[in-house]
């Protein structure tokens, strides 16, 4: 079922590439450890093959599609979580898990980074303006939300607070 209020295809779209930023926080069980992973990442939303594709920029080795931008993003988010589960299953300890998650996050996709930067520059220069539903997303500059990843070991932490909880965020780069 298509989420309400979201278009299935672009209507008179003025943009081909939509630069997005996002924040995900996950707790993953591994072999003898519990890890907390928080990423502030980048993705590019593109309408191709009559569906919406979310292409990872950072992390770059990630893609998913959906009938709407929101569905594409939700499936992208789930595929990211599955990568974490795969890494956890293959890691013999926390350090191996942390090393592989950081490698996954930082290994670059130069072409996607260029497409993302060009799309953002087009918005900043006024050559392109996001249309719905992207125009209704919160907007922030990439400078205010640097891309980063943290991988913490939680099962030996003495400090847990509700303020550590972070909702999934999708933000339009501006």
């Amino acid at each position: 079922m298509r989420p309400r209020g979201l278009m299935a295809q672009p209507t008179g779209s003025r943009m081909k590439f939509y630069p997005l930023m996002f924040t995900f926080r996950d707790v993953v069980s591994g072999n003898g450890f519990l890890a907390g992973i928080t990423i502030s990442g980048r993705a590019l939303m593109v309408y191709e093959d009559e569906v919406w594709w979310a292409y990872g920029v950072r992390p770059g080795a990630l893609a998913e599609s959906g009938a709407s931008p929101q569905e594409g993003f939700l499936r992208f988010r789930n595929r990211y979580r599955e990568v974490l589960f795969d890494v956890a299953a293959e890691s013999k300890d926390f350090q191996a898990f942390k090393t592989e998650v950081e490698r996954f996050y930082f290994e670059p996709d130069h072409e996607e980074e260029t497409r993302w930067a060009d799309a953002m520059q087009a918005i900043r220069s006024g050559d392109a303006a996001p249309d719905a539903p992207f125009s209704s997303l919160p907007r922030e500059t990439p400078e205010s939300r640097p891309s980063q990843v943290t991988v913490e070991r939680l099962d030996i932490s003495a400090r847990f607070t509700a303020s550590d909880n972070i909702p999934d965020l999708m933000i339009a780069a501006a």
């Binding site: 093959d49 594709w53 599955e82 990568v83 795969d86 996954f104 290994e107 996709d109 996607e112």
Partner: protein, 73 residues
């Protein structure tokens, strides 16, 4: 599901266009390694949407002209 292709055809492309590439099945996805980079999120189903394949080719810097000879990119 959008335009898709059989994984067997992707395998053929990898053998011809990405010599030395390896691939294996993880619990949730396929893991493809080529030229020192690891693509961890290729769906494990027999049919794979072309967007996933295009992304993997970009990410792993696989020769696009060669890949286009084997896949409808």
């Amino acid at each position: 599901m959008s335009a898709s292709i059989a994984f067997s055809e992707i395998e053929t492309m990898l053998k011809r266009c990405a010599p030395g590439a390896t691939w294996r099945m993880a619990t949730h996805s396929r893991v493809v390694i080529f030229d020192g980079k690891t693509y961890r999120s290729l769906p494990k189903y027999d049919l794979v949407e072309l967007g996933h394949v295009r992304k993997m080719i970009r990410y792993l810097n696989i020769n696009r002209e060669c890949a286009g000879e084997f896949l409808p990119l």
